[in-house]
Amino acid sequence: MNPLISAALVALGLPAALALLLAVVPKLRRTGKPAALLSILGSLLALSAAGWLAATWLHDPKQVLDLTTSWLPQSGKSMSQVGVHLDGISVSMLLVVAIVASCVQLFSLGYLSDEPAPALGRYYAYQSLFLFSMNLLVLAPDLMQLFLGWELVGATSYLLIGFWFTRPAAGKAALKAFVVTKFADSGLILALITLVAWTGSFSWNATLPAGGAEWLALFLFIAVMGKSAQFPLHIWLPDAMQGPTPVSALLHAATMVAAGVYLIVRADPIFAAAPHVRLFMTDLGAITALFAALIAMVQTDIKKVLAYSTCSQLGYMISGLGAGSLMGGYFHLTTHAFFKALLFLAAGAVIHAVHSNELSDMGGLWRKLKFTTVAFVIGSLSLAGLPGLSGFYSKDLILEAVHESGNPLALGLLMATAGLTAFYMTRTVVKAFFGKPSHAAEHAHGPGPSMTIPLLILLVPAIGLGWLAGPMSKLYGRSYAFHLDTIGMVTIALGLGGIALGWLIYGMGLLQALPRAFAPIARIANGSTVDDLWALSYSKLGMGLARAIAWFDRYIIDGLMNFLGWLFMWSGQRVRTLQTGNVQDYLYAVFGAAALIALWGGWR
């Protein structure tokens, strides 16, 4: 077998084997630390495999390798192929996932050091399962395997959000995340069965009937809206922050929520033939970006700020892909994975230090947590799009693409979001790390090496990946050369303006009228409004309908059946003169009557 294929199989199979091992050998799982180290080792081996693959492909970006076998046989034919599909896109995504997953698994060792051993073992079993599921999705040769991975990452997300299952809020959040994304996933199921009914396979390169691509793209995009938290299906993502912070970094910022974006990249031939859906994506992505950024401005929980920021940045990616820029959308996925994972892990270090998510419990932390502060600030600057940092280049690509697609509305929304992003991140940085320390902040303790090393590793791509945009673009089959034009310059100005304004208001205590002025606006747009609407339709309408139907079933349908039963009994009472009390007589009657009817019918 080709050694490159073997490497991919290691990245896929090793985490699966470890997850299975930890699941079926409780003795090992309950030891905690050894189980954790085994899982981390697995992720590191997957990382080296992915690293080698990426290095090979950077050398020869055009290479395509496949190893597939038939799944779901259909009378000799095969409906679906499973296996590994290696090309520039899957290899680069594999590396992103492996880097972030390894960092997160390592970080969790310190972050969850207070957990009892069995819980830690369970956590790492889930982590290995997640790495397998995500790699299954990334390496998919067709839409079916992608869907298998898609659903499995959803299930692992459910398990990891509900990791602290004794907290009622965690149970609720896990359920909500699963149900909302499952609701959206019916779009993907529709797409799969439509695709197979039309083409007999699940390939995204298949020739479609006229107009078919629009329908398929629409179905697929419904699923993307759920997984990648696009308005109005974003409601599960802020709640998902109930999971441990490293989980938020890996699943709910860097990789799993980006699966929707990855799906669009993979199914590019379908989306390219669907201009209407693409236009919708551009607009909806821009709306989500602005909407989530507005909400992020008023959040008091550091993880919620980052969660809404993730929604907002996913909006950018969707918008960019809608505008037809595969490079922009996918490259922003990549840079975002690193700087957002960095931000989440740094926030994790803060939460670990002050034992609270609330910004009001922080403040002045830079004295105690110098390195964490540096990491968080650099992550924020990258997110805010400061020139030179990776986030700037990918965001610029998207804005250029949206501009070129001739959509001034979406462009306007996205550029406004760029300013807002800089503003709300500055607010968060100031509130958490500068200003007057809270009581908890005074007693904060710094993170250990298992937490600082991942931060250090993630700092590198968060800063420098933008400079690698050229070679990276070849992996996607595109070409790229950076050039700064008007849009780029305006965005830089907006970003700097946002930072300056944030510093003036929260750092220097000036212009206090401004936050008071926009607070009501932001509150109107606050997450709970959309959430309440969903809750109304879900619990009130859905529950009401279910109760009505259950009542109908119990009293009308079953009532009718019981009435029929009673009617027979009643008529039986009337004709009880025929009753002899002899069982044989009744049986004779039953069979005799049956025979008579049959005879009559037969001779007629």
Binding site: F165, G171, K172, F183, L192, A197, F591
Partner: protein
């Protein structure tokens, strides 16, 4: 009749010198007879006897499996001899791709149910083991019988032990539940008996299915006879709105009864449709297709919504069966290769997953003597292994990929949408295509609703802090219990990850069965597609 419509799948392709299938049916009953001679006050003797009996049956079923050539359709390992000469009734047993998976499911589940019953049944073990062993004979016989009189005999044999099981070992409303169960099923059976006798007359004295499918029946006869057969089978399934006996029977039945009822007996309804009702009366099936499709999809959605508001875990699982069996009926009504394969597999899947759920609910009931969701909460803390298994089985029940449920449901959907998209529209006529597309679309809601009601229940039972002090002392699963659900979990994963060998079991038979019957169904429900499919068939 046209040669393309010949029912070649009912030709005998292999016979057995030794009556293997008869032996398979009788082995459980032989052990039941042995149990008569064992002392009634020694439960362990009956536990051992019944376990050995069910294991011998399972081993024998594997021997038979090795004799079956799954790459060809046709009746295999046939046992046929003159039974009641004066009636021309033959003892006629055979196995093929339709019955093989369900026979294996039955012989696989029964030993697990017996082991599960060691703690679930605490009185009258002698009578219990006899009832369940006789029930196994009834189930296997019903699956293997090709002669309608033989079939009817076994079909009725099943009824009595289940009646006793609910009536003796059941919960507090057991009398109401048994009477309801008995009346419903008996009502269907008697109508079917009338139909069987009518066919016997019409054919000039044969009960054998291969003879009866050759009969030429008028449209009116088809409709009435299909009605009689289908009613018996659809009550068993149960199809909405004939389902109201099920929640009561399930809730009141002891755990072993629920597992067998959900695991195997419900499938005999859908199996009966495939084996008898449709091949005998395909034209009527075409006529009833729109109605059955509507009822199946209504059942999927209504069953799920009704499950959502239940407060008793077991009742919730019972209603989920209504929803899941709706998918199976959907696959059968659509009647193409994909949908039928999905329906076959989904029968097995439901047996494994819902069987496992009922066992798990039973384990909890044995510990706490309650099944009310509100009595629990946070018990994952006390029973982590139990919680893990429960969540896993839940995931298979809601069709998570890489568990069995996904493969079955997906094939049913794929078949349904293929039907919807490949059908043509004939102006001014009844529009089968629209019907399938609209109802098929609605049925996908069943997937989402499944996640809603199952996971809501999981949250309320397992997540959170323990509020009820009685739950503080709950003990986790014993080794015996782990073994039972562990075995089922392996099967669930195996089918989910590598479904090919399971699909292979019935592939050839479904192909051979669906070809002639589908054409006759299509002729009635969608003539324009019938003409196209006819031409395609001739071209091949």
């Amino acid at each position: 009749m046209d040669s393309s419509m010949a029912q070649n799948w009912l030709q005998v392709t292999s016979t057995s010198a030794f009556p293997l299938l008869t032996l398979l049916c009788l082995v459980p009953s032989l052990f039941a007879v042995a149990a008569l001679f064992l002392p009634g006050d020694q439960p362990w003797a009956h536990k051992a006897n019944s376990l050995v009996g069910s294991l011998v049956t399972a081993a024998l079923s594997l021997v038979i499996f090795s004799r079956v050539d799954t790459s060809h359709a046709g009746l295999q390992v046939v046992d046929k001899f003159n039974w009641i000469p004066s009636l021309h009734a033959n003892w006629f047993l055979a196995i093929d791709g339709l019955s093989l998976p369900l026979v294996l499911l039955t012989t696989f589940l029964t030993p697990l149910v017996f082991i599960g019953a060691w703690s679930a049944i605490d009185k009258r073990w002698k009578e219990f083991s006899i009832a369940l062993l006789v029930l196994e004979t009834g189930m296997l016989g019903s699956l293997l019988a090709i002669d309608l009189l033989t079939f009817y005999l076994f079909w009725e044999i099943m009824l009595v032990p289940m009646y006793l099981m609910i009536g003796i070992w059941g919960g507090k409303d057991r009398v109401y539940a048994t009477v309801k169960f008995f009346l419903y099923t008996m009502f269907g059976s008697v109508l079917m008996l009338v139909g069987i006798l009518y066919l016997y007359q019409k054919s000039g004295g044969s009960f054998a299915l291969p003879d009866l499918v050759k009969l030429t029946l008028t449209d009116k006869e088809q409709v009435w006879l299909f009605g009689a057969f289908a009613l018996a089978f659809l009550i068993k399934v149960p199809l909405f709105p004939l389902h109201t006996w099920l929640p009561d029977a399930h809730t009141e039945a002891p755990t072993p009864g629920s597992v067998i009822l959900a695991g195997v007996m419900l499938k005999l309804g859908t199996y009966g449709l495939l084996r008898f009702a449709i091949p005998l009366f395909p034209g009527a099936m075409g006529k009833f297709s729109p109605l059955l499709l509507t009822l199946a999809v209504t059942g999927i959605v209504f069953g799920a919504l009704m499950a959502y508001v239940q407060t008793d875990v077991k009742r919730l699982v019972a209603y989920s069966s209504v929803s899941h069996l709706g998918f199976v009926v959907l696959g059968i009504v659509i009647f193409n290769q994909e949908s039928l394969q999905g329906a076959m597999l989904q029968m097995i899947n439901h047996g494994l997953s819902t069987g496992a759920l009922f066992l798990l609910v039973g384990f909890l009931y044995e510990r706490r003597h309650t099944r009310e969701i509100s009595d629990f909460g946070g018990i994952a803390k006390r029973m982590p292994v139990y919680a893990s298994f429960f969540v896993f089985v839940t995931m298979s029940s809601i069709a998570l990929p890489l568990t069995n449920g996904f493969v079955g449901e997906f094939l049913i959907f794929a078949g349904t949408f293929k039907e919807g998209m490949h059908s043509a529209i004939e102006p001014g006529k009844f529009n089968w295509r629209m019907w399938v597309q609209v109802l098929g679309g609605i049925s996908t809601a069943g997937i989402v609703l499944g996640a809603v009601y199952m996971l809501s229940m999981v949250r309320r039972v397992f997540f959170g802090e323990i509020k009820n002090a009685a739950n503080e002392s709950l003990s986790d699963l014993t080794l015996r219990e782990k073994l039972i659900v562990g075995t089922l979990s392996v099967a669930i994963l195996w089918i989910g990850i590598y479904p090919a060998p399971f699909l292979q079991l019935s592939d050839a038979t479904i192909k051979a069965m669906s070809a002639p019957n589908r054409l006759q169904i299509q002729q009635v429900r969608s003539p324009i597609d019938y003409r196209r499919e006819m031409q395609q068939g001739l071209a091949q």
